[in-house]
Amino acid sequence: MENVWFLAAVWLGLALVATLLAIWLKISTALSEIVVGTVAQLIIGALVGPHALGSSSAWVAFLAGTGAIVLTFLAGAELDPAVFRAKWKEAVVVGLASFAAPFLGAAAAAYWLLGWTPDASWLAGVAMSTTSVAVVYAVMLELGFNTTEYGKAMLAACFVTDLGTVLALGIIFSPFTLKTVVFVVACAALFALLPVITPRFFRRYGGRVSELETKFILLALFAMGGLAIWAGSEAVLPAYVIGMLLAGSVGRDHALIRRLRTLTFGLLTPFYFIRAGSFVSVPSLVAAPMVFVVLFAAKMVSKMAGVFPAVRAFRYAQQEGLYYTLMMSTGLTFGTISALFGLSHGIIDAGQYSHLVAAVIGSAVIPTLIANAFFMPVHLRPSEVGEADPMRRVPGGARREARNV
């Protein structure tokens, strides 16, 4: 299909279908978009041709790549610096264990059990090392744990794990050359300057219809992304760090975040997730289902082995520790970003990519279900311990508003 506007209409049509499915099935739009992308490629590929959806065309790749970068920036910007400062010891210990154990465990399983190449195995380790802070956050918010010390520590640890994943993705597959040195120096300079310059610049010139803030942020993300690619690294690495560094300023500007969210979820991430789904090969999944089982099991077992002892070291009871561990075993966004990086750089093939994405999606769903069904530490919920909430909670997660008459 050569007509760009027709093709864009097809993609936005798929995005609309995915959104409707997400509403009906009460799942996230991202997950729905991945599945719709897979099914669309299967059907359109069979009926029209394998390249009809245009997943590999430059403009689709650009929109999808921008979606991944801005999504990563937003993920970093959601860090709560005050909570992180208060919980940094636990966050660092648990977060690092949560990254390192599955990174090594999944890489080992891919290399020795599945016979993948060393690079493909490391890539599997990176993709499986993630924790989905969004999945964890949704559960914390729904159950009220986000206001407890327990939930805050868990969320802070998620950011450390994801930082580990992003750093690994940006460093492991990057050749160490003079370009790397230039990239590191530029990163150090920008990372030092941005938190100082950005709030002042926005105070002086921001708050206008011309959306200066959005342009400034996109400039920083594109420039550093370009430099990262030039140095053989990955564009999401600086995006995540920039997000974390600006979390205390830009991250608290709710109006700006809401506008970025509109741009991201309205146009960019549908291209990213549908494209990620379109590369999934269903025949590969059906042909070798045990590969999915091995990858998923490697992630679960190594997360258990790494996170549970680390959590217990902070004196959580067994049930609390198991729930904490299962929550830290979830993954989605950075897992798919890592897998897509591997596919687009020729580190893994379409079959390996498909199994990694399937295992990532499995890790978003299965640990959450098990944790909430069997290990939820009900006694830590705010309703049980009487913590403050703007809309006072009552047992069962209810909110009782004041009588008004």
């Binding site: 997400a22 009906w24 009460k26 799942i27 996230s28 739009t29 991202a30 997950l31 999504l71 937003l74 993920a75 959601e78 989905s132 802070v133 969004a134 999945v135 956050y137 949704a138 918010l141 729904e142 975040i257 809401r258 970025l260 969210r261 991201t264 979820f265 991430t269 997730f273 989605l332 966004t333 999606i361 978003a364 769903v365 959450t368 809309m391 009552v394 069962g396 997660g397 209810a398 909110r399 009782r400 508003e401 009588r403 008004n404 008459v405």
Partner: protein, 140 residues
Amino acid sequence: MFKRILVAYDGSDGARAALKRGIELATALGAELSSISVEEHLPHYAASISEVKAAKEQIDEYFRGLTKHARDQAALAGVELETIVKQGHEVETIVTLAREGKFDLLVIGHHGHSRIFERTMGSTAQSIVRLAPCPVLVAK
């Protein structure tokens, strides 16, 4: 007769009728009146915190408006209404609250949301009538 009345209120036409009947009964009987609104779940397996926060903001805004409207309606009739918002499955949540809150009358609308569930499992109203621990008045 009835001392504690609970109205299931989700803002639908049926629920509005239930609220109206609940207010009338509470006025006539001098009973305590409460309403229960069941929140939808947040999107499961989201890609970013932003998506979850956006959904939460929308849900909160909707239920804030919903409960304010219910309290305003009750206040117009001189009735004190306690509004309760809970997360979970509609039938299970309403029935559990009716039992734990020791309500002696549950007023529900004939049609709420959760249409897919209704088609596959039977209507929400039917399930509540079957499972409720107290008399149920279905308003039309």
